[in-house]
Symmetry: D4
Subunit: 162 residues, 8 copies
């Protein structure tokens, strides 16, 4: 059953956002992907948000750039945790995207990750799901051990190259 909904305002966000889905796939978390625009399909976006929980989704990942309203608007119309990915646009290096997503008013949180940090959005969704799932938690622990090993390998390679 689909557990994570990955949405973005435009297919031009997909090159950034697909990293979220790759992370989910590494942990065998079933997900769906949709283009849902806060500004071009506002009612469809609200409908997506209001029905997400009842459709069985457990986490929503939303990416947007500039005046990035998608994550916050979706969070306003669902009880699910929403993860926001600030997509950097041509100017301002994603600082506008970041502030538009993270500075939500009291009452409606968005779990914001770094500028362009879609992979971490996927991993954060896994951590949320793993929070009540020992087996998935175990996989996250293994993933972290592999990250550690990767650093040790890089260290060894660097030592050798000097």
């Amino acid at each position: 059953m689909t557990q994570v909904g990955v949405i973005m305002g435009s297919d031009s966000d997909w090159p950034v956002m697909k990293a979220a889905t790759e992370a989910l796939a590494e942990f065998d978390v079933p997900f769906e992907v949709s283009v849902v625009s806060a500004h071009r399909t506002p009612q469809r976006m609200l409908d997506y948000a209001t029905t997400a929980a009842s459709r069985g989704l457990r986490v929503i990942i939303a990416g947007a750039g500039g005046a990035a309203h998608l994550p916050g608007m979706v969070a306003s119309a669902t009880v699910l945790p929403v993860i926001g990915v600030p997509v950097p646009l041509k100017y301002l290096d994603g600082m506008d995207s970041l502030l538009s997503i993270v500075q939500m008013p009291a009452g409606v949180p968005v779990a914001t990750v770094s500028v362009g940090g879609a992979r971490n959005a996927g991993l954060l969704a896994v951590r949320m799901l793993a929070s009540g799932d020992p087996a998935l938690q175990e996989r996250m622990a293994r993933f972290q051990a592999e990250l550690e090993q990767l650093v040790l390998d890089k260290d060894a390679a660097l030592q050798k190259s000097l």
Copy 2:
């Protein structure tokens, strides 16, 4: 008949936003005021936007702070021109509000004024209405002449005080 809708996400924005209504009142432009929150009443906000034109409104002024989504979301669901007022919050001096409002994607413009610039939002609405109304345009011309006179008076007062 009400011509301008002035909306804000919270009554805490009213001390900033009332300056917009004062400007409208100076030009005898009929307006309405509502608290409409993008994040706390998302569906009501969309309904406000989608019915605004048919109710006879001709311009919407929307003020919001932080991750300020109200102006852009309203603009996405109406054909009316929407004026956005970045309301400064406790931190960041309104820079987050400004970027969240002005950096709208192609297709859905918001006419953004300065941080805390609600009075100018009112005056901009008057200019929009005056664009097809010679009498109102004439009043705007008189208003500008008064501004000019005010500067001359201040200049004279400063000269005298030296």
Copy 3:
């Protein structure tokens, strides 16, 4: 009859600003284009502004970069609504252009759009004109419906590509 004046400080702004004229053309709104520099032709700029309304213009779109004074100066000498487009220059990603345009003092508003957002400037002008023109308002509604359909098409294409 020409309804919108599109001006810019230099022909080097044209690659950005032509998107405003394209948006106007899509809605069959007659426009004129001029190079008018606040800093190199100050008197000519003031003359342009002071005669704009009497020449029949109803909206002015002004693009400028850096210490971008054109939109605000034109707004100071006309009763028409003025839309400002922050043109990004080589450094600072247009943040200087944005602040120089949007932070106008009380009395003289400029309707500011996003950095490089000339297309939205054109669409905002259309919304202003449509505010008193049901037929144009209807076209804007169709335009928004097409935007919505475009998102649905992109969504379908993305689904298929997965």
Copy 4:
């Protein structure tokens, strides 16, 4: 059983961070509070993080200011989702805190909320827990309905005051 650990680098962060615990208390989510400093008790911080999951915690909320390393360091040593609260210090309005928390490298996400947004950190933790708990999800839905009602009440009060 304690489900959420709320930690902060110094007791001077408590005036900001207690809002997180208030939100948790409103939803009857059991929590613990600790002062754990990344820079003054680094080993104790790591030990807190590495044992958090086995002690039964399901979410960690970490607040920090300036070079705010606590949320990211804790996230590096636990499989639990970690929520970061950028605490504003005397200078820079929390922009340093925000960037130090949100800009985590790929592999180790921190769910960042707004500058000073501890209440939202608490609500985000509730959403995460509710994601697998229909009863808690129902309470969140009621909470959102109350937020909506609050806006309607404020709107009515504002209307009356005009």
Copy 5:
């Protein structure tokens, strides 16, 4: 004969700008003060600028805040050197004023001083006048020697207080 024109957009800038006149007075440089607004008296501003040189002025000091167009516009209509003082307003700490003044396009320079740096604007005007006036240059040298002595005195006082 008046050598320096000190202008500002509003009498609210006077508390900042009077420091410029105090510096001029210390060097017995004759000056005049005027309120001249780029946005509220645009034609008067241009007239001020175009006649300044023929009236005998040798330097213009212009202070403005926010979208600070006065220094640049005056510079565009005179051959005199123009010194710009970024006046800080309520928000953004004068960063908008600074960028609006300093980022002038090639062809029309403004000699910009620090945010709120009106005293230095006065001293810079003195240096410009002194550049062709050995007696005034000598006074500037004495002024700098006094600054140096002031530091020595402060150093001695600090040593004594320890």
Copy 6:
């Protein structure tokens, strides 16, 4: 006789700074060029500054990037007006250079131009010299008339191209 000293901290600044010398050459103002580093030749820099006036220089133009100390340090050891050019480096788009140059303490002004604005530095030096030289002032007036004509020509060309 050499009237303007153009200095820079490194020959890597020359591609930016030569525009200052080109502007001076257009007005037949004699100048000298030197590499003088605040950080690598501090004593030589001070000596340059302290002897500049007695050698007959009337204006100094100093370009520097990053922690750009050259303009301010030279200004501290001469009575001449010093023009600072913020040279943009690889990161931060010259914002560090701008603030390091413009934010001088009371007593020691630097006439700062835009990021990379060396041409304007040259033109500003010409304006300073012209302030006491009617013939040079006349040439500056012609230069400005040519700038105006250039805009008219560009306007005509743009009109034709539409």
Copy 7:
């Protein structure tokens, strides 16, 4: 024998800078304090720097604000390690001070601490001296243990207060 020179551009920096001397005193490191201004006593500053090592100083701590040139200029004329403290001024929250100090060109480093971080400047000087002094290193270790204990005490106090 005096080991650390603590200097600042003005006695107005002393309220910030004295925290550096307090930290030195806690470790019984002998120090001297001087007001030495880069901009008002440039030659005296260079002389201070060039003689510092031969006078027996081993570290220099320099605080400055705005266009903060003191740390970098002193570093350019001594072989000693120089620690820079960005002193925040009235505007810009010390961001100008920070960039003016930290962004030094290759060849001349300044060890920069946080905005207003004079206490850490003192502690950094102690670490530098301790690097070759086991007894002082031992004291630093005890100091860090006390910091740790302080956190534990605060934690206990917070627990009790809940």
Copy 8:
């Protein structure tokens, strides 16, 4: 015996960080290089820091980007002076790295150099070591004299090329 430990969070930082080792090599200071990640090998990082002094290291240079926690965390667990190098990542030009490193809380300083300033980190380490080593101090003095000569050579070359 190894005196300086150069560490970085990832081998992708090596192209920036190797400049630190080149500077150390020019002064014949023995160093070691390791990949040590705050976020992927947190315990290993703490162990590195806690044993550094007893292994004979005298200075640690740590480079990191984004939410750059490595320098500060290492500083928290060692008595050695730690030099932090803000490594610029794909977005934000290293501003996030700089603030994450420099804004350390009182008690735990990091000697921060410029964005990408690894060469200066190496030179700063040399200055620290030279502080108690007259021979090394002498070499630093020669190095500075060579820098000075380099400027003189560049000046001569520029003069010739004009």
